[in-house]
């Protein structure tokens, strides 16, 4: 991120001053140092900035895609961990499952923040964002699936009726063998 900022340069106040000075050579009182040709620099100014900006945008887009793909690795690792944890309910498997659920959720909450550095008018962040969200949703799905395999999701009828009290009876009957 620091690198990106340095390239941009626009965020630094003192740099603005320098540029102002350099673009107005007439206001200088002292001559240029020998061997320095200002003309060539001025001449290439526009093309260089353009090139630079293009490179930057490319680089940003590339980075954004990279960031968007990052959860995939996570996903694989999570999958491995889950496989390791097995399908019985104990402390380890519950911990893994809940972290598998929590990570995508927290990542999804911070989607905007993750892609903020790459925000640029020119590049399209929708693709990476969608990929990022999709991967995280995949992670979430994996977590939910794990939860289900652990039997912790109320997806069966038994989960809804297991504490249903017995129905009332209309009739009432008593009696038996005569008391003796």
């Amino acid at each position: 991120m620091d690198k990106g900022k340095a390239v941009m340069g626009s965020g630094r106040r003192w740099a603005v001053d320098f540029t102002d000075n350099s673009t107005a050579p007439s206001s200088r009182e002292f001559p240029d140092p020998p061997g320095f040709s200002r003309a060539s620099q001025d001449q290439d100014e526009s093309t260089v900035t353009k090139q630079k900006k293009d490179a930057e945008a490319n680089w940003k887009a590339q980075k954004a895609w990279e960031v968007a793909q990052a959860p995939f690795k996570n996903l694989l690792m999570m999958g491995f961990m889950m496989w390791m944890a097995g399908s019985t309910v104990h402390l380890f498997s519950i911990g893994i499952t809940f972290s598998a659920l929590w990570q995508p959720i927290s990542a999804l909450q911070g989607v905007g923040k993750v892609f903020e550095p790459y925000k640029d008018g020119k590049i399209d962040l929708l693709g990476p964002k969608l990929l990022f969200i999709a991967l995280n949703l995949g992670g979430l799905a994996l977590g939910v699936w794990k939860l289900n395999t652990l039997g912790l999701l109320p997806t069966h009828a038994s989960d809804w009726v297991s504490s249903l009290p017995p129905a009332q009876e209309v009739e009432y009957s008593g009696g038996g063998i005569p008391l003796h």
Binding site: T88, V89, G151, L152, L153, P154, T155, H156, A157, S158, D159, W160, V161, S162, S163, L164, P165, P166, A167, Q168, E169, V170, E171, Y172, S173, G174, G175, G176, I177, P178, L179, H180
Partner: protein, 983 residues
């Protein structure tokens, strides 16, 4: 989800088969055990020579026991079987206790000091007769003391050393009914006197050495005789003739039989009413008892009768006791208000009282029923007397020097029914508890406990800790506790006395001899039948005290008028009683209460009319609202018919009032008498709480239990197979189990066990029934389980419908609706024969259940219901294993640690009562028989509370120590940081 996690973790915990054993030091912490003997029938004191101060007693509960005369404790005790009633006891050779039992057919000798059985002999004879036991002191046959026994229609002489029968003589042929066997002191002759029919008097004279018949005489008695025949001296008998107005004196000296008749009116001027001769053996005298007074009549040597005295209020007379050279004394007890007067009189001189004492008794003991006396020599060499008295409430008291030395509440040996009652809520002025121990004591106790936990305590301190735990005031307080462990056990005993026992330590909180269950002119032979919870204050009527209803009847036949009695369980006072005009054959508890929280009861009389109690208009209002939905059924076991009835309208006729209703029969099930006989019926307990109607099985599948309070489980057996094991071959014995809906009479399930045999013990809970019987083919006992499921609800499996609540699972069900049930059943072998089966019940019904099996060894075994699960299979699938299912085995395991009674025995076990505590995990168990036993059970361990011996003080101290440690380390680290900064 939380519930699910909890349930699954619970399931996980419960898959490991838990044992419920105790540690040695936990015995007595939450259980108590009390030993009783029952109402004393006969008592024999040790002779002075043997020196030890004990008395041997036989009781109506078939117990023979040796009691300490100083404290009334039991030295040793034997409980004979329920069909082995003790007829007579005596002491032979000064070292053996001889008992004659089972109508004179079993003679046993027990070692006097320790109660070991020395020998046992069986006396055989063709017919029943009065059984008599005679232990002569001086009669010897070949240096062997002889015991003379009359039993089973024959006279037997038995060696007292090894119990061999020396000779025997049958009297069976002549339909002879024996009255007395007499052996005059110092002679070798035995007289056997008795009657043939009611008028021919016979005397047999026998040689005691060899049983040779020396002489036989008989004489006809014109008037006949009735009642007791009193032996006045070794050759004189006195009896009443059949009209009860003439006394007949019989003298059979030297082979001549002389009759002498004396009109009672000649002796006594007043009219007597019905007079009876008391069975007490008094020297030269006999006692005639009428309804109001007692007459003592002396028989002179010439056979003349003369009235010695007439005493009012006498209730009991002892046998004569010869205490020094030729002197004989006997005791008589008179009642006067609350005092009793004990008089010991010398047999020869009426007017000299050897002893006259008055003793104050508490008024809950009733009349004196029996008195036994014994003499001792005081330090000044004069004779003192002590008396053992048996009261109306079956308690046993020892009186000496005008005081009650000890008292045993032996009425508790014959508990008929038991229920529980809550204790008062703890608030100012209500608690009856003792003053709580102060803080210092509390702290001291806890420090001791900690020492014990840290293994720092010395042996004496360990003993102290144990004693402290056993009698902690916490468990015996008289107020309600959080966990619902402290309750009152209300028990009704055979004597008509109601006791309230504290569940904490088993002490008697109050006792009440019910006046309505005492003999009176209107109610000559009352018996208590059952106890019901009349009022259990819940929401409203919190200020009312809870009360119980005692139902009894005046005679033992079913059309005798009933008696009701209401007892306040806090105060132990009778709130009211009523003798009913109608009989009581059935008591039906209705699930409604009136605004006073009095439960509505329906009493069915012998004419099949229903009477509603309590008798108030409000109750009728409530009853009328539910009128058409109330049914009742009767089981006529002798006729093999089960009938269903419905209520019709108010009674017409002599007993008509608005609380009486006629009933009409709506269905009947008739079992063919030649092939089936009803032996057992069981229903669910009314107060049982079921948590859920669904049973989750493997793979999250669900089955719906068929839970109905109206189910009746009936077992019939082949009529041939009712006679006990061995009475029928496997081919001709079978056992049929029925599940019947008692509203509609529909048979839901029927199952036949071929080659099986009663007796059947069964228990019904939720949707399952477990029963125990004998399998003749396998020669083993078996237990079977039937679970019943509702198939008509089985299609409620759509999750979305369930989520949205669109299902019919909670709508009320009717017995008349379409019915589709499936049953699953399985059988297992079981080692023990069984006396009673019960099941644990908990407050919400969530905790898994245990069967409580009263074994033939008088112990209680807890068996997990999971062992009796019809879905058990030999190779359960993974999912079933996870569910906690146990692989199928052919027999049920008996884990020695799961005996609830641990090392104790509840002699003569008759019933097991389980009551839920407030704590869901725990059930209270009360076992009664001759002994009483109480404990707490946690079928799935106490998952909802810390254990009893959890040291709160240790926890507190650990926390304090940790806080201190945190502060100290914090200060230290601050200092170190400061030093570092200065460096």
């Amino acid at each position: 989800m939380a519930i699910r996690v909890f349930l699954i973790s619970l399931l996980f915990l419960s898959t490991t088969i838990t044992t419920f054993s105790l540690y040695e030091d936990q015995v007595g912490l939450m259980d108590w055990h009390q030993q009783y003997i029952g109402k004393v029938k006969d008592a024999v004191f040790h002779t002075q020579k043997t020196g030890r101060k004990r008395v041997v007693v036989s009781t109506e509960e078939n117990v023979i026991a040796s009691l300490d005369l100083r404290h009334g404790e039991i030295f040793w005790r034997h409980v004979l079987g329920s069909n082995d009633a003790i007829d007579r006891i005596d002491i032979a050779l000064g070292k053996y206790v001889i008992t004659l039992s089972s109508e004179g057919s079993i003679l046993r000798a027990w070692n006097l000091p320790d109660g070991q059985m020395v020998w046992e002999s069986f006396l055989k004879g063709p017919n029943h007769s009065k059984s008599l036991l005679l232990v002569p002191t001086s009669l010897k046959v070949d240096k062997d003391n002889v015991i003379i026994v009359f039993g089973k229609g024959g006279l037997h002489a038995v060696s007292s050393i090894h119990g061999e029968i020396l000779w025997q003589k049958d009297f069976a042929a002549e339909s002879f009914e024996v009255q007395h066997v007499i052996q005059p002191l110092g002679s070798d002759i035995i007289y056997v006197v008795g009657f043939v029919g009611s008028s021919q008097f016979n005397v047999y004279q026998m040689n005691a050495k060899n049983g040779e018949l020396l002489k036989h005489e008989s004489a006809a008695l014109s008037g006949g005789f009735s009642g007791e025949v009193s032996l006045v001296s070794s050759n004189t008998l006195v009896m009443l003739d059949s009209t009860g107005s003439t006394l007949i004196t019989v003298n059979f000296h030297n082979g001549e039989i002389n009759f002498q008749k004396t009109d009672i009116s000649d002796l006594i001027k007043e009219s007597l009413g019905m007079a009876t001769i008391l069975p007490s053996k008094l020297a030269g005298m006999f006692a005639l008892k009428t309804t109001t007074f007692m007459i003592f009549i002396r028989v002179t040597d010439e056979g003349k009768l003369e009235v010695v005295d007439k005493i009012n209020h006498v209730t009991a007379v002892s046998d004569a006791l010869s205490f020094s050279e030729g002197q004989q004394a006997f005791a008589l007890v008179e009642h006067y208000n609350n005092d009793i007067y004990l008089t010991v009189k010398l047999g020869q001189e009426w007017n000299s009282d050897l002893l006259k004492e008055s003793i104050k008794l508490d008024d809950q003991r009733g009349l004196v029923h029996k008195v036994f006396i014994n003499n001792y020599i005081r330090t000044d060499r004069s004779h003192g007397f002590r008396a053992l008295i048996v009261m109306e409430d079956h308690s046993l008291l020892l009186l000496q020097q005008g005081e009650i030395v000890w008292c045993r509440e032996d009425g508790l040996a014959s508990v008929i029914d038991a229920t529980t009652s809550e204790l008062p809520v703890e608030k100012e002025g209500v608690s009856v508890a003792k003053v709580e121990e102060n803080l210092f004591e509390w702290l001291k106790g806890h420090i001791l406990k900690i020492k014990g936990t840290l293994m720092l305590a010395s042996p004496e301190e360990v003993v102290n800790i144990q004693a402290m735990r056993l009698k902690s005031s916490e468990k015996s307080k008289m107020t309600r506790d959080h966990n619902g462990f402290r309750k009152l056990l209300i028990v009704l005993t055979k004597s008509g006395k109601v006791f309230a026992l504290h569940t904490g330590d088993g002490r008697i909180v109050w006792s009440l001899l019910l006046n309505s269950l005492r003999k009176s002119e209107t109610c000559e032979n009352p018996t208590g039948l059952n106890l019901y919870q009349w009022r259990v204050p819940h929401h409203h009527a919190m200020d009312e005290n809870p009360s119980v209803l005692v139902v009894g009847r005046c005679r033992s036949n079913s059309d005798a008028p009933g008696v009701l009695s209401f007892v306040d369980t806090y105060t132990g006072k009778e709130l009211g009683s009523s003798s009913l005009v109608h009989s009581v054959v059935q008591v039906i508890l209705l699930p409604f209460t009136d605004s006073n929280e009095q439960r509505l009861h329906l009493l069915i009389d012998a004419k099949q009319r229903a009477h509603l109690y309590p008798k108030n208009p409000e109750a009728v209002g409530i009853f009328q609202r539910e009128f058409s939905n109330i049914y009742w059924y009767s089981v006529e076991a002798d006729d093999g018919i089960i009938k269903g009835h419905v209520l019709k309208d108010n009674c017409i006729g002599e007993v008509s009032d608005e609380y009486c209703f006629e009933t009409k029969e709506i269905w009947s099930i008739v079992f063919p008498l030649e092939s089936e006989k009803i032996i057992t019926t069981v229903t669910r307990k009314l107060n049982e709480v079921v948590h859920t109607q669904a049973k989750v099985i493997a793979d999250q599948d669900v089955m719906y239990k068929y839970i109905s309070k109206n189910l009746l489980f009936v077992v019939t057996v082949a009529p041939k197979a009712t006679g006990g094991i061995g009475s029928a071959t496997p081919e001709e014995s079978w056992l049929v189990a029925y599940l019947i809906d008692s509203v509609t009479g529909r048979i839901l399930h029927r199952m036949t066990h071929h080659g099986s045999h009663g007796p059947v013990h069964a228990v019904f809970s939720e949707n399952w029934v477990v029963y125990h019987y004998f399998n003749l083919r396998a020669h083993r006992y078996e237990m079977s389980v039937i679970e019943i499921f509702d198939q008509s609800r089985a299609d409620n499996k759509d999750v979305w419908k369930l989520v949205l609540g669109k299902h019919n699972l909670t709508s009320p069900i009717s017995s008349y609706s379409r019915l589709e049930v499936i049953t699953k059943s399985q059988s297992y072998f079981f080692t023990h024969s069984v006396k009673a089966i019960a099941v644990t019940s908990t407050a919400k019904g969530i905790t898994s259940k245990q069967l409580l099996i009263g074994t033939v060894g008088d112990q209680v075994l807890a068996l997990d219901k999971r062992f009796l699960d019809p879905r058990r299979s030999i190779n359960p699938t993974q999912a079933e294993k996870e569910e906690g299912m146990i692989p199928l085995t052919d027999s049920l395991p008996i884990i020695p640690q799961s005996y609830v009674t641990h090392s104790l025995k509840v002699e003569g076990l008759r019933g097991i009562v389980t009551v839920p505590a407030k704590l869901e995990s725990t059930a209270l168990v009360f076992v009664y028989g001759v002994d009483l036993f109480f404990t707490r059970l946690a079928p799935s361990r106490t998952y909802d509370s810390l254990t009893e011996d959890f040291s709160y003080a240790l926890l507190l101290m650990t926390i304090v120590a940790l806080v201190v440690a945190i502060f100290v380390t914090w200060i230290l680290s601050e200092k170190k940081e400061l030093r570092d900064k200065w460096r």
